[in-house]
């Protein structure tokens, strides 16, 4: 699987996670989001940038609970709720947002 951006092919796995994390760019994020039928707004970007910071700090793709805690710490308590994240990234927000933010596939816990 791959995305084509400006004529360059960018590898992803079948679920859309980047093969090479260094390929990530804002444009890649927009395309990854489009594949999930998500139109990125400023509120999405706020979470995406936060996830990238989380990964930089901890080298982990977060599970829901630590992500929520990190949001409370870094953004605002009212955004540190799974309902808020579900609205932006429906389904499994931590996994979906991690994918769009160019983080590695989270370890399959189950």
């Amino acid at each position: 699987m791959s995305l084509i951006i400006n004529g360059n092919s960018i590898g992803t796995d079948k679920e859309g996670f980047l093969t090479d994390l260094d390929d990530w760019s804002e444009q890649v994020a927009i395309m990854l989001a489009q594949q999930e039928n998500i139109q990125l707004t400023e509120l999405h970007w706020e979470i995406i940038n936060l996830l990238r910071r989380f990964y930089q700090n901890y080298q982990l793709s977060p599970a829901m609970r630590p992500l929520v805690k990190f949001i409370a710490q870094e953004l605002a308590p009212e955004k540190a709720r799974s309902i808020y994240l579900l609205k932006l990234f429906p389904g499994s927000p931590a996994k979906l947002a991690s994918k769009i933010a160019g983080l590695p596939r989270p370890d399959n816990c189950l």
Binding site: D13, K14, E15, D107, N108, C109, L110
Partner: protein, 130 residues
Amino acid sequence: MQFSLLILGSPYSSQSVGTAHRFAEATLESGHSLYRIFFYHDGVYCGNQLSCPPQDEPNIPAQWSALAAQHDIDLVVCIASALKRGVIDSDEAERYEQSAANLAANFSISGLGQLIDANIHSDRVITFGP
């Protein structure tokens, strides 16, 4: 009592895998049950069905498969340990676009949550270090 085992050693490199197998048999002979055997670290190689030992050495993956089939024991290789070491089932092979799968019969590939679950449901979790 209900036991689960955590196996970390590599078959054919560490005796610990054999010790764990004898221990598993002894628990069953003593009337206990085995809830799950969780293979982590190099232990995941126990799930490689492509092992081809000489005829006068045990086929370790086949031994575990047989024990599991006979006593209905859950054999789980940790997905994070297994995938990077090239132990893979057909679902994961498809996901990662690999040409083959090699997980031995009666093993499943799953996450560390299965170790946590085994701990919750067992009276004892015994670790066999590499």
